[in-house]
C-alpha cells in the first residue's frame, strides 16, 4: 500500500520526478529562447487594464503578500486575485516549469528567487518587463536586488525582497565565554575554537553544506565563479574569492568546529534556541524566522555586520531574496504588471515591511522610520541600520548560472563530500564545477572553465 512506503523513498522519487520535469521543461523552453522582443505596454495600457479589471492568479509563498492582495483588491474592486501557495522555492519551480511545459495552468504572476531567475529568463519562460517601463525603476531599488533581476539585457522581474547579509549572534554565549564578536572571518575561526574548547557542545555555527550560503560568502569575498553572457557560460572556482572562502572554511571543517546540523531542521531551531549554535550568517529576512521559530531565545540574539575578508572592509553579499515575475504564458500582462508595481514599488512595500519582510527599495531602506525601528527580539536593537548598510555594500559583479537551480541541487553530492569526509573543500568545489559544466553543456550552453 502507498502508505507503507517510507518517507525517504517518497522524497527520493519526488526528487527524481522534479529533476525529470525540470529537464524536460528546460529543454522545451530553451527551444523558444532568443528572439521575442519585449511587448510594449504603456502606463496607459496598464491603467486601462486596471479599470477594466479581471482575474489574476498569483503563485507565491511569501506570507506578507496575503495582506497586499487584500489591500489591492479593496483598492481595485474589479480585480480578483487568486493567491496560491504552490510550494516553497524548488517545489514551486517544478510546478511552474511543469505547467509551462503542459501549456495549461500557468499563473499570471509567480514568485521567483534571484538565484533561480536567470534560468527562467534565459528560457523566456517569464516576460521581459522592459516593455512595461520597468527600466525607469533603476533608482527605485537597491543595487543588489536590481542587478539580480537583470539577465540577457532584459529585466525579468521586480525585486520583492532582499537578503543583505549580517551576522546574528547569541550574546549570552559570547559573554559567558568572554569572546569578542568577530569582525573578520579570521577572528571568526578563532572565536569558533575558543567557544568549542570552552564547551564541546557549543559550535560557532551549523553547516552541512549549503549551496546558497557558500556562494554568498564567495560573493562577499569578491569571487566571480560564474560568468554569463547569453548562452556562453564560464564556471571557475579557482579565482581568489573562491579560494579564500575554501581555505577559511577548510579550517573550520578540519577542526570539527561546525555543528553537523542542517539549516531549517528541527535540531537547528533547537540549537538556535539553546545556544549550542552561537552565530548565524544569513540574510536580513531572518528576524521574522527568529521571532516565530526560536521564541525561547528572545532577547538573547543580536545582529552585527558580516565578518570581513579584509580587516576594516565593508563588503557584503546577498543571501536569498526573491522577485515577482510575469510568466510568458500569461495573457493578463498589463494587469499583472499593475499588481507587481503595487506590491513591489507602491503601497505594498510598506504593508510588507509592517508584516516583517525586508524591502528591496532604496526609499524604504533609507526611511527614518525603517532605520529607527527597534527589534524587541534583539533586545531593542535597531538592527535595520546594520541591514541597510549591508544592502549598500553588496559586492558588484556577481551572477548566478542560468541553471543554478540544478547546480544547487547537486551541491551536496559534490562539495558536500568535504563536510562528511576527508575530501578537501577545494576539490569539492572543483567537482561541483565539473558537474555544472557537464550539465550545462548537455543543456545546450557553451560552457567553459
Amino acid at each position: 500500500m502507498k502508505s507503507k512506503i517510507s518517507p525517504a523513498v517518497l522524497r527520493g522519487s519526488a526528487l527524481a520526478l522534479a529533476a525529470a520535469l525540470a529537464l524536460t521543461a528546460c529543454g522545451g523552453g530553451g527551444n523558444d529562447a532568443g528572439g521575442a522582443a519585449p511587448a510594449e505596454v504603456s502606463a496607459d495600457d496598464v491603467q486601462a487594464a486596471l479599470d477594466k479589471g479581471g482575474d489574476l492568479t498569483v503563485w507565491a509563498w511569501e506570507p506578507t503578500l496575503e495582506k497586499v492582495v487584500e489591500d489591492f483588491e479593496a483598492e481595485h474592486p474589479n480585480v480578483n486575485i487568486d493567491l496560491v501557495n504552490a510550494g516553497t522555492g524548488n517545489d514551486q519551480y517544478t510546478a511552474l516549469q511543469n505547467a509551462i511545459a503542459a501549456g495549461s495552468g500557468v499563473p499570471d504572476v509567480a514568485q521567483v528567487e534571484y538565484y533561480a531567475l536567470p534560468q527562467f529568463a534565459l528560457a523566456e519562460s517569464v516576460q521581459d518587463l522592459s516593455g512595461y517601463g520597468a527600466g525607469d525603476l533603476q533608482d527605485t531599488f537597491s543595487p543588489g536586488p536590481w542587478s539580480s533581476v537583470q539577465a540577457n539585457e532584459g529585466i525579468y522581474g521586480l525585486p520583492m525582497d532582499s537578503g543583505p547579509m549580517a551576522l546574528f549572534y547569541n550574546t549570552e554565549v559570547f559573554e559567558k565565554y568572554g569572546v569578542e564578536v568577530p569582525t573578520t572571518w579570521e577572528e571568526y575561526v578563532e572565536a569558533a575554537r575558543t567557544l568549542h574548547e570552552a564547551d564541546p557542545n557549543v559550535y560557532i555555527a551549523n553547516d552541512t553544506g549549503d549551496a546558497g550560503f557558500a556562494t554568498s560568502l564567495i560573493w562577499q569575498a569578491g569571487g566571480q565563479p560564474y560568468t554569463v553572457d547569453g548562452t556562453d557560460v564560464k564556471v571557475n572556482f579557482s579565482d581568489e574569492g573562491s579560494t579564500r572562502f575554501a581555505e577559511t572554511w577548510q579550517q573550520l571543517l578540519d577542526e570539527d568546529l561546525l555543528a553537523p546540523i542542517s539549516s531549517w531542521s528541527d535540531e537547528w531551531y533547537q540549537g538556535l534556541g539553546t545556544g549550542t549554535i552561537a552565530t548565524l550568517a544569513t540574510g536580513a529576512w531572518m528576524p521574522g524566522n527568529f521571532t516565530s521559530g526560536v521564541p525561547a531565545a528572545a532577547g538573547k540574539w543580536r545582529a552585527a555586520p558580516l565578518p570581513q575578508w579584509e580587516e576594516g572592509g565593508t563588503a557584503s553579499a546577498e543571501n536569498g531574496g526573491s522577485s515577482l515575475t510575469i510568466p510568458a504564458a500569461s495573457e493578463q500582462g498589463a494587469l499583472a504588471y499593475a499588481f507587481l508595481d503595487y506590491a513591489n514599488v507602491g503601497d505594498g512595500v510598506q504593508t510588507r515591511i509592517d508584516g516583517g519582510a525586508f524591502p528591496a527599495t532604496s526609499a524604504a531602506l533609507e526611511s527614518e522610520e525603517f532605520l529607527n525601528s527597534e527589534f524587541e527580539y534583539f533586545g531593542g536593537q535597531k538592527a535595520n541600520e546594520i541591514f541597510a548598510e549591508s544592502a549598500q555594500n553588496v559586492s558588484e559583479g556577481w551572477s548566478y548560472l542560468p541553471f543554478q537551480v540544478y547546480a544547487n541541487s547537486i551541491f551536496n553530492d559534490t562539495v558536500g563530500q568535504a563536510y562528511v569526509s576527508d575530501t578537501p573543500l577545494k576539490d569539492g568545489l572543483k567537482s561541483w564545477q565539473d558537474a555544472s559544466i557537464k550539465y550545462g553543456t548537455e543543456q545546450g550552453f557553451t560552457v567553459s572553465e
Partner: protein, 314 residues
C-alpha cells in the same frame, strides 16, 4: 504515520479480549486451545512491541500539549510548561482562516468517494469473479495479481501525465479517480466471497426466482459484511494517508488533503520570512489520526473476522 501502528494496536486489543475469559477459566484448571500456557518470553516480547507502537502516539499527544517555546526546550516524552492542548487545537482550527477544516473536509471527501468507491467496485468485482465463470477469468486473475505487485507510487507519474492531457489535474477528481482502483481489495473480496457465499445458496435463490440483482443485494451482501469492512478499512487508511498522489496532482491548497496541508505548514518553518508553527503541525497531526483511531475501534470486530476468513479450511 499512523498506519504501521494501527494494526498492532488492534492486535493488542484482540489479545486482551481473548486472555480475559481465559483468565477466568484458568481457575477451573482447564487447559486447552482456549487457554494456552502463558509464556513469559512472549509476554515480554509483545510488551516491548506494545510500547514501541504506542510511544509515537504518546509523544504526539504530549507534544501537542506544549507551546512552541516549550517544544524545543523541554524533554520530549513528558509534559512541560502550561497544558496548551486546547489552545493549540483552537489555533490549529483557526489558523489561516480555518484552512485546516477545509483540508479535513477534503480528506473526508476523498475517503468517502475514493475509498467508498474502491470498496464498492471491489465487492462487485470480487463477487463476480468468485461466483460466475466466464471466459478470460484466468487472465483477469493474472492481471489482478500483477497489479497488487505494482506500488501506487510507480503509477503516480504516468497517471499525472495522462490526467494532465485530460485537463483533470488540480481538481478533486485527480485524487478520487486513481483511489477508486484497489487490486488488493478486489483480490481480498474475491477470496472472501468464494468462501463466504455457498454456491448452493445462490442456486436456491435463483430457483426461487430471485433476479441477479436481488440475489446480490439481499442475499449475498449481508454475508459479505466482514469482508467489506476489511476492504473498507484498508482503502480508507490508504486514502486518508495518501500523500504522493495528491502531491503530484494538486497545486491549489484549497483542495489539499490533510497530509499535504500539514506538510505545507511544516515547510513554512524553512521559508525565509515564513512563520514557524511547529505546535500547530503537531496538534494538526494528532487531530488527523483521531478519525482513523475511531474507525478502527468501531470497526475492529468486523476487521478481525474478515482477516481470519479462509484461514481455516473446512
Amino acid at each position: 504515520m499512523s498506519v504501521a501502528v494501527e494494526p498492532t494496536r488492534t492486535d493488542k486489543h484482540r489479545t486482551r479480549q481473548r486472555t480475559k475469559p481465559g483468565y477466568v477459566r484458568m481457575k477451573s484448571t482447564r487447559r486447552g486451545v482456549d487457554n494456552p500456557k502463558r509464556s513469559v518470553l512472549l509476554t515480554v516480547l509483545t510488551g516491548i512491541v506494545l510500547i514501541y507502537s504506542l510511544i509515537p502516539l504518546v509523544w504526539l499527544f504530549i507534544n501537542a500539549s506544549k507551546t512552541q517555546a516549550d517544544l524545543f526546550t523541554s524533554f520530549g516524552l513528558w509534559f512541560s510548561g502550561d497544558f496548551a492542548l486546547f489552545g493549540n487545537i483552537g489555533d490549529t482550527l483557526a489558523y489561516d482562516d480555518g484552512i485546516f477544516g477545509r483540508w479535513f473536509l477534503n480528506t473526508v471527501l476523498y475517503v468517502v468517494l475514493g475509498a467508498g468507491g474502491a470498496t464498492f467496485l471491489a465487492v462487485l468485482g470480487g463477487y463476480a469473479l468468485a461466483k460466475f465463470s466466464f471466459p478470460g477469468k484466468k487472465a483477469v486473475f493474472a492481471v489482478v495479481i500483477g497489479a497488487v505487485a505494482v506500488p501506487g507510487t510507480a503509477l503516480a507519474v504516468p497517471t499525472f501525465l495522462m490526467f494532465s492531457e485530460m485537463g483533470l489535474t488540480n481538481t478533486p477528481w485527480s485524487v478520487i479517480i486513481p483511489s477508486l482502483i484497489s487490486p488488493f481489495g478486489l483480490y481480498l473480496m474475491w477470496t472472501f466471497a468464494s468462501e463466504a457465499i455457498p454456491t448452493e445458496l445462490l442456486e436456491s435463490a435463483r430457483m426461487d426466482g430471485a433476479g441477479e440483482f436481488r440475489t446480490f443485494f439481499q442475499i449475498c451482501l449481508p454475508l459479505l459484511g466482514p469482508g467489506i469492512v476489511t476492504v473498507l478499512l484498508f482503502t480508507m487508511v490508504a486514502t486518508w494517508n495518501n500523500y504522493f498522489l495528491p502531491l503530484i496532482m494538486l497545486k491549489d491548497p484549497a483542495w489539499y488533503p490533510l497530509t499535504l496541508g500539514l506538510n505545507a505548514w511544516n515547510a513554512q518553518a524553512s521559508t525565509a520570512g515564513g512563520e514557524a508553527i511547529f505546535n500547530l503541525v503537531i496538534t494538526g497531526s494528532l487531530l488527523t489520526i483521531l478519525p482513523l483511531i475511531a474507525a478502527f475501534l468501531l470497526l475492529q470486530r468486523y476487521w478481525q473476522s474478515g482477516l481470519s476468513a479462509g484461514a481455516v479450511k473446512e
